[in-house]
Symmetry: C2
Subunit: 251 residues, 2 copies
């Protein structure tokens, strides 16, 4: 059954109104008819099976038929702070990171990020990113759409990191040392509901100054396996591992 | 230091000859000079630091200076049998799967694969895939390039699966049942040197007949977390989890 995330203001007690792209998707792409069923997700995380009652040129109405008792959310809140990578790699991080259960994403301007965004580009990028996260959430049957926070600099990220129970950063140099921090041991110490911030450098990783800044502010350097991962693969490794630990090993 | 996988016939006792694309990469892209150092990987898995001794128009020679005692190979041999996906998704499976440590890839024609390859397309595809696997192996500092086996049908794969210690298939329906096979428990039973075959369906997954065929031949259906992953994400989840279990949790 097709899923749609519906903004809070479009929910009534026993009905939802679907507008814009989603209405178009229902009427033109899926070619749905009245009485067809869809799943509507509320921004707070609940989902309901709904029966389509009306399809007009620009909106669709559907009657709530059954609230679902299901969740596909990771039990921990994992925020991925991604150093701005080249070309369209951020799209891949958002798509795959959403499928793999990320709670939020923060794009970060770092010393070795070769791209930079002006204000105009920023708004366009943010709209695009929100759309990617929404569509990947629908496709992967998630209950919530990950938040996408505005672009920040590393210093700003560090200054606002006190609320996380765990603060990690992927550090390639760590993989080369004998006494690296074991990512497995750190994840083993995590518990459901913990808020975890994982910072990943762009191509070329963090500068030594950035690594020092992170270490001084209690970010733990971790390696993500012994192979050198591309920047866009690091978030996937971290999220899949945490999902495996809490959603599959725990079973 | 840049890495190159050098075919067996180009190794002499204390020297290697580098030809074709790699020679071009050394002379034109890296603009290396005699006495610069590179790492050369032998197909058997060993790697050596080599000093460039000669750069000509079409080849590079380098003297072996030091054999390295290093390995970045997953301790298990994980073969990913991927149902042929649409567009260029197989490229992504190969790139990320190589970074994440896959031992081999087998493209599989399945009931719901919408693409098919003729003989001409096949050769072109295989060359492309071998190039992707080689470059991703170099970039991720692996000791071995994953094998890419010829396209097969599911029946053929099943008939040649006796040599694997573990045979799994990703089955979306499994995620919906109460008593699903825990991927975590199965991975926990694996040991170093085990040979593991993981079969992943294309978009739309396996047909019921295919799922029956796999089950009848002792392939274990597994879910890979509770979210619905796109076909190209399944291999990444499986490989990252197995790496996490054996290379990070074990630390």
């Amino acid at each position: 059954m097709q899923r749609y995330f519906i903004p809070e203001e479009n929910w009534e007690e026993d009905e939802v109104t679907i507008a814009n792209d989603d209405a178009h998707h229902i009427s033109r792409v899926m070619r749905s008819q009245p009485d067809d069923k869809i799943i509507c997700n509320h921004p707070r995380g609940q989902a309901a099976i709904c029966d389509i009652s009306e399809i007009t040129g620009d909106h669709v109405r559907a009657v709530i038929s059954e609230w679902l008792d299901e969740t596909a959310e990771l039990p921990l809140e994992i925020t991925i702070a991604q150093g701005l990578p080249k070309s369209d790699k951020m799209d891949l991080v958002l798509k795959k990171g959403t499928e793999l259960g990320a709670y939020a994403f923060i794009p970060v301007q770092t010393d070795r990020s070769v791209v930079s965004w002006d204000d105009k580009k920023m708004e366009k990028k943010m709209n695009r990113y929100r759309k990617i996260a929404k569509e990947a959430s629908e496709q992967s049957h998630r209950n919530k759409i990950p938040h996408i926070q505005p672009l920040t600099v590393l210093n700003g990220l560090v200054n606002e990191s006190d609320s996380y129970e765990f603060k990690l950063f992927a550090y390639e140099e760590e993989a080369k040392t004998e006494k690296f921090q074991s990512f497995g041991k750190i994840v083993n110490n995590m518990a459901p509901d913990d808020r975890v911030l994982i910072v990943i450098g762009p191509e070329g990783g963090f500068s030594p100054q950035e690594a020092d800044l992170l270490k001084q502010n209690d970010f733990l350097p971790v390696r993500l396996g012994p192979r050198i991962l591309r920047t866009e693969t690091a978030a996937m490794y971290a999220l899949a591992s945490i999902s495996y630990q809490f959603e599959e090993l725990g079973c």
